[in-house]
């Protein structure tokens, strides 16, 4: 990196201990951290750089919120906790990141695990919720078959899927994660993944068709 410093306009990009320290001039759009790869941020997390964790959170929190809330319909505070736990676990296990797969997949894996543990520990409560009637009250016959109703019915059906099927469906069909990567994230064999995906789709189709009939 070249550095030209003039008294009136010092070059604020510098080398610090052999490592490039990105410096942003006042008024410049924030670009410094965006130039650092996810892998480098995760490596920085591994050596205790909390700013890197913040940057990783800034970059991926939306995807994690989306994944967690799709896998688990819950209160906002609970979703917040799960997302926070996901990033904390990433921070803890950053040193163990092998480089296989993207950092996003690494985070997906942690999030999926976190949700799975949460679901297991809250199984009784989840079952109690599953006994509640579908929120279909108020629907008149002429709107029952509407698009919105279908979406609503599908939401309920996804919620009622066994968790092992739901996480596969969310990852593969909603988050568009390729099958091989999803299998790695969920730590299952590819054959198991495809079977679960097939089962999930079948159950969802049946739920939709049954509702429409």
């Amino acid at each position: 990196m070249t550095s030209k410093a003039s008294p009136s306009q010092p070059n604020l990009t510098a080398l610090d201990g052999g490592k490039v320290v990105p410096i942003r001039r006042p008024g410049e759009p924030r670009a410094s951290l965006s130039e650092i790869s996810d892998e480098a941020l995760l490596a920085a997390c591994g050596v205790g750089e909390s700013a890197a964790l913040g940057a990783l959170y800034d970059r991926h929190h939306e995807a994690m919120y989306r994944l967690v809330s799709r896998m688990l319909r819950s209160e906002r505070a609970e979703i917040d906790d799960l997302v926070q736990t996901t990033f904390l676990e990433a921070w803890k296990s950053a040193k163990g990141y092998s480089g296989k797969g993207s950092v996003k997949s690494f985070l997906y894996g942690i999030a999926a695990n976190t949700v799975r543990h949460h679901v297991r520990s809250a199984k009784r409560r989840r079952e109690a919720l599953a006994d509640l009637p579908e929120p279909m009250h108020g629907a008149t016959p002429d709107v029952a078959a509407s698009h919105a109703q279908q979406v609503q019915r599908l939401g309920v059906a996804i919620e009622r899927l066994p968790h092992a099927l739901r996480e596969v469906y969310v990852l593969c069909d909603l988050e568009d994660v390729p099958g091989v990567e999803a299998a790695r994230i969920l730590d299952v064999r590819a054959g198991t993944l495809w079977r679960r995906l097939h089962d999930a789709r079948k159950l969802l189709r049946e739920a939709l068709d049954g509702g429409a009939a």
């Binding site: 010092p10 008024g27 919120y65």
Partner: protein, 398 residues
């Protein structure tokens, strides 16, 4: 379109969580605080064993102390800096317990600003009223009316508010809690510190009464002596070990997105009821939105109005006004705003970032000596990213 594709399209229409800015920042702050704590105290199994051993030793020592001679208790150490409004009525008590030091500020009325730095495990700092308790690490302000907790505003770190018979409410930096019946002002606001960074308290401080531990009762109760473990106490939101003033919520210098939590006086996690924001808060919220929308000039005007108000939000507003002014290219005014912020915010976590920003502005106009001084001021910042930026700035000046 196949059935599966149709299913997928429908499923993608399902709503999912989009956290708003305040919620996002609250989780971020909490995450960073938790990560910092974890870093300082990594969970290790041998510590559990050591804790048992230490517990046994403490118990043995306690028995020896009571059965043997009764020496005066060791001097209790104060962990909190308390600033009170002129009208505040309070008692400040520091006492030694089996596990450490209890620093209790019993507030009857008025406003109290608390700065809690490093508190060791086993120690406790709490603000108490007749109906509740506030514990935390960082900077927070507590308002009390008629001996009851009226409001808590956290400017740095975090705090836990417990009202008797209710669930605890956790507040992150920038969040506030208000009691159900809350009027705009209870007592005059505490004058803000006006001097340069200093460890000494600068605002008018009401003389507080300190009750020394009685020599005959160095330990709270006999039962606590007999048990091998220290007297249990309610868990603190921050385990009272993080030097929260500097490290609990480190602001990343390279992502200078202003934390908006202060714009949400009634965030979902904090306030049970919607409260009308004050004029200062309204200006701040409008300024913040404008800043996020890229309308730097309008934002600087709104944030300037907020900065002219009172309270911690006003101080933060000055910082964000400076940021807006930098974005708007009005660097001289930005410098002025930053100096104003640095003068007032003696304890803010953003001091380091502000100092680096100011140093860069000064360096741009060629005053390397002043720029160097501000970079040097930020070198010791608790956030490693800020410290690195300061070092790199100094290197660039050379």
């Amino acid at each position: 379109m196949s059935d599966d594709a149709r299913l997928r399209e429908l499923a993608k229409e399902l709503p999912y969580e989009h956290p708003d800015e305040a919620r996002r920042e609250a989780v971020r702050a909490s995450l960073l605080a938790a990560a910092t704590r974890r870093e300082e105290h990594p969970p290790q199994r041998w510590r559990v064993v050591a804790a048992f051993g230490a517990g046994a030793l403490v118990a043995a020592a306690a028995v020896l102390l009571v059965v043997g001679r009764r020496d005066p208790a060791p001097a209790a150490i104060e962990h909190a800096r308390i600033e009170a409004s002129a009208a505040a009525a309070l008692e400040h008590t520091v006492s030694t317990t089996a596990s450490g030091t209890d620093e209790i500020v019993r507030v009857h009325s008025g406003k109290v600003r608390v700065a809690v730095a490093a508190v060791k495990a086993g120690d406790r700092v709490a603000i108490e009223t007749s109906d509740g308790t506030v514990e935390g690490a960082g900077d927070y302000e507590v308002a009390v009316r008629d001996d009851k907790l009226a409001a808590v505003t956290v400017t740095a770190g975090s705090a836990r508010v417990v009202i008797s018979g209710q669930k605890a409410v956790f507040l992150a930096a920038g969040q506030a809690w208000h009691a159900e019946l809350w009027t705009a002002e209870i007592t005059p606001a505490i004058p803000a510190p006006t001097t340069a960074p200093s460890s000494a308290p600068t605002a008018p401080i009401q003389t507080t009464t300190m009750t020394p531990p009685t020599p005959t009762s160095p330990l709270p109760t006999t039962s606590s002596i007999q048990t091998p473990t220290p007297t249990p106490r309610p868990a603190s939101p921050l385990p009272a070990v993080a030097p929260a003033m500097t490290t609990s919520v480190p602001p990343p210098v390279e992502t200078p997105t202003p934390a908006p939590a202060v714009t949400t006086p009634t965030p979902a996690v904090a306030a049970p009821k919607a409260i009308e924001p004050t004029e200062t808060e309204q200006h701040f919220q409008r300024g913040w939105k404008l800043l996020k929308a890229g309308k730097a000039i309008e934002a600087s005007a709104e944030l300037g109005l907020a900065a002219d108000g009172e309270g911690p939000i006003a101080i933060d507003a000055r910082y964000f006004q400076a940021e807006a002014l930098v974005k708007a290219g009005r660097k001289t005014e930005a410098e002025k705003a930053l100096v104003g912020f640095l003068d007032r915010a003696t304890q803010s976590l953003r001091r380091g970032r502000a100092a680096v920003m100011l140093a860069r502005l000064i360096a741009e106009r060629g005053d390397t000596a002043s720029a160097r001084a501000w970079f040097q001021a930020a070198i010791g910042d608790g956030d490693p990213a800020v410290a690195k930026a300061a070092k790199a700035g100094l290197a660039a000046l050379e």
